[in-house]
């Protein structure tokens, strides 16, 4: 849809923007821009649609030609789409970021302690602070890891934690992605695109850099390498070019200057892992794996896996190769375990949680279950083992039939479901159909845990777009924004 020709020279930000009954990241309830958004506000008030559209088109085409795409399946051939990118940045004041950063650090430390504990003494279970059933019955709990010492005791080298804000602007942790969180390449590419498109704005704001993320990631990976007296060889293990996140795998490998390998490039011999090269076998020290535990080794895990390398687990057990993340981290991103993270923080760190959890009801607990079943029309019900919005019931928007179907599923397997109150996510002005509209956003910062915990300022802001970008529509209706954390 294009704007009538008469409006093409109008500024994109007009008086028509509606804040609505939500927390708007840019505007106060009275319609005034928040302090840290003033400069952007002034800029947008002078930017015409024509200019803006031109810049947007240039950014889209550059994404397409650079192959910054993801693959959508379901049709005969995979269709490639660019991940829709919105040019209006999300801005976080320094103090707010400091708070988030402290909260995230605390959370990842506690989760890592939890992982070390459940794979060793299991104190938290013995002390009955978390039910054994939940931990050992979690689909991603790996009993093979019990008693295994991982390098530096670190399991969660890379965590992507999803944060949301409610209608009053309070931050909540929605989930901790501890298997192989994706999206960080979009964070980095978004920044590049913004610098090309709005260099002038960067000059007027002091934006903290994020470009060092790949180097920090590489440092993290190298910090867990077994010591064999040589420079460690780090590789990125991908399921392959047909994986929807392949662009990211390739991007990160390139940025870190490491080799990207598939399972068939690896061979395990006498407890050591090698890559097959044109000159023979070359030993590998650290594997940044972007495939799930199940597929790592057909000898020890799923036998039909072609993505991993047979014998990899034994090499890992013998300490001859390090994996990031460690095997078994999935138990910590189980949505039922999530409910206990505040408890973990108190138990392991003796501190009160800095960041809030969303109140969570576990269907496995009888009282909670009754509450869930009585309030299905008000709650969001989630399957504990699935991510990406699959296996979810959004009560208020669901039909009667959908709710009844979920009732049956919950009763059949209560361990598999949790429920949370619906949160009206905060909104952010986003360019849609030639004007700015409020769209819901979340935030995924990436937390690295090597010699110490490192979080590059910001993260990936995801935005729920209702209509797509210039080039193609996204299938999922999700897009992203650059996230600016300001200097003090």
């Amino acid at each position: 849809m294009t704007a009538p020709a008469t409006q093409i020279d109008q500024p994109i930000l007009t008086g028509n923007y509606e804040v609505g009954p939500f927390f708007d990241e840019m505007f106060e309830n009275n319609g005034q821009p928040r302090l840290h958004y003033r400069v952007l506000y002034e800029h947008l008030s002078t930017l015409t649609r024509e200019t803006f559209n031109e810049r947007r088109r240039a950014a889209d085409i550059s994404f397409l030609y650079q192959g910054i795409t993801f693959t959508v399946y379901g049709q005969q051939e995979g269709i490639e789409r660019i991940f829709p990118f919105d040019l209006i940045p999300r801005i976080i004041p320094h103090a707010e970021w400091e708070f988030l950063s402290r909260g995230l650090t605390q959370r990842v430390m506690a989760l890592n302690e939890f992982l070390r504990d459940v794979y060793h003494e299991q104190r938290i279970v013995r002390d009955r602070r978390i039910p054994a059933e939940l931990v050992f019955g979690a689909r991603h709990f790996r009993r093979e890891m019990v008693g295994v010492d991982v390098p530096r005791g670190i399991y969660a080298h890379i965590t992507g934690t999803d944060l949301v804000r409610d209608e009053r602007g309070n931050y909540y942790v929605l989930e901790d992605n501890m298997r192989s969180p994706s999206g960080v390449s979009y964070m980095l590419e978004n920044r590049q695109a913004m610098k090309r498109t709005f260099a002038d704005l960067f000059e007027r704001y002091g934006v903290m850099p994020i470009e060092h993320y790949p180097q920090e990631l590489l440092n993290t990976l190298r910090s867990v390498a077994p010591d064999r007296g040589v420079e460690p060889t780090v590789v990125l293990l991908t399921p392959g070019v047909y994986n929807s996140a392949y662009f990211e795998h390739s991007f990160l490998a390139r940025q870190m200057g490491i080799e990207i390998v598939e399972g068939r490039d690896l061979v395990v011999h006498e407890g050591k892992v090698y890559t097959r090269t044109t000159t023979g076998l070359r030993q590998v020290d650290v594997i940044y794996r972007r495939i799930d535990d199940d597929f790592l080794d057909p000898l020890s895990f799923r036998q039909d896996s072609l993505l991993g390398a047979p014998g990899l687990f034994s090499a890992y057990l013998m300490g001859n190769v390090a994996l990031a993340n460690a095997i078994g981290t999935g138990v910590a991103d189980d949505k039922a375990i999530y409910a206990y993270v505040p408890e973990m923080i108190r138990y392991y760190l003796g501190e009160e949680p800095i960041l809030n959890n969303v109140p969570t009801y576990l269907a496995v607990n009888e009282d909670d279950r009754r509450y869930i079943l009585e309030h299905l029309d008000k709650l969001v019900v989630k399957s504990v083992n699935e991510s990406g919005g699959y296996g979810m019931l959004v009560g208020p928007h669901a039909t009667r039939e959908e709710r009844e179907a979920f009732r049956a599923r919950i009763l059949a397997a209560p361990r598999n479901f949790i429920a949370q109150p619906t949160i009206s996510l905060s909104r952010h002005p986003t360019y849609l159909n030639d004007e700015l509209r409020g769209c819901h956003v979340d935030l995924r910062p990436y937390i690295l845990y090597g010699e110490q915990i490192t979080i590059v300022p910001g993260g990936l802001t995801r935005v729920a777009l209702r209509s797509g970008s210039l080039v193609v529509n996204s299938s999922q209706g999700g897009g992203s924004k650059d996230t600016w954390v300001l200097y003090d």
Binding site: V125, A132, M145, E270, G271, L299, Q303, G311
Partner: protein, 268 residues
């Protein structure tokens, strides 16, 4: 009792395969009063470099690979073991994970209606030890020992339906019955020295440990309706067969595989 065990596994293929990785759980355990005096594993025709680790059940695992194309692999294991005159139940208690694992159904030992119906009449209220023993005897009486009626994939519910099976099936059925009564039970893989089994009839054996609070582990053999004695050699324990197969492996290639196992046990 001092026993000598020879366990020969031969894998042959009708076309060359490569990148074979093999895990072996065949070393007699140092547990329950038993001691392993010697253990040797040799591969033929090429001597593989064998690595060892202890799995999370405490079992000794030997692991080796053979990358070059081949059509035959044999694994010769010889061991000498001093068995326990009486199985030592161990003191202590279960770890939280053991408590969970040995009480929960598995693929081989599911908790379905048929199992509960089978176990129902044999329950002695407030007497888990008595219940376990009665169940063991019930399995012994209800299932007919018969080779060839079942295979390595047979599950406990199949066994009830068939009414026939071998020690692996007896063990899985008893485990399933105990667990549905809340009695922790685990699968034991090993050998039974019995002079009447020799030549083709000698094989590996399987039975069941149950955990009784206050007693520790009690080791029951539902195939022979007795408790473990000095003729039993323990090798590995787990939730069911899938945790303790004597050999496990993968390879690359498109070939038909033939597996041959020969076991010889002699008293010294």
């Amino acid at each position: 009792m001092r026993l000598f065990i020879e366990h020969l596994t031969t894998l042959s293929y009708d076309a060359p395969i490569n990148e074979a990785h093999t895990e072996v759980r065949l070393k007699p355990a140092d547990a329950g009063g038993q001691r392993c005096l010697s253990f040797k594993l040799l591969t033929e025709p090429v001597k593989a470099h064998v690595l060892a680790y202890i799995d999370h059940f405490g079992n000794d695992v030997r692991y080796f690979d053979w990358l070059q194309p081949h059509q035959r692999l044999s694994i010769a294991v010889t061991s000498e073991v001093l068995t326990a005159p009486l199985f030592d139940p161990g003191a202590g208690e279960l770890t939280p994970l053991e408590e969970y694992d040995y009480c929960h159904p598995t693929a081989y030992a599911p908790a379905d209606e048929a199992i509960c119906r089978f176990a129902g009449p044999h329950i002695l209220p407030d007497d888990p030890l008595g219940t376990a023993r009665t169940l063991s005897e019930a399995v012994f009486r209800s299932i007919k020992y018969e080779r060839g009626a079942t295979d390595v994939k047979t599950t406990a519910d199949d066994v009830i339906r068939l009414g026939r099976g071998v020690c692996q099936d007896f063990a899985h059925l008893l485990i399933a019955c105990c667990r549905c009564q809340g009695i922790p039970a685990r699968y034991v893989s090993g050998y039974l020295y019995d002079p009447k089994f020799f030549g083709d009839t000698a094989a590996t054996h399987a039975w069941v440990d149950v955990f009784i609070a206050g007693h520790g582990w009690i080791s029951l053999d539902p195939t022979h309706n007795c408790e473990q004695n000095e003729r039993y050699v323990r090798v590995a324990v787990g939730r069911d067969y899938a945790d303790v197969p004597p050999t496990r492996g993968v390879f690359k290639g498109n070939a038909k595989e033939t597996l041959e196992v020969r076991v010889v046990i002699r008293a010294l």
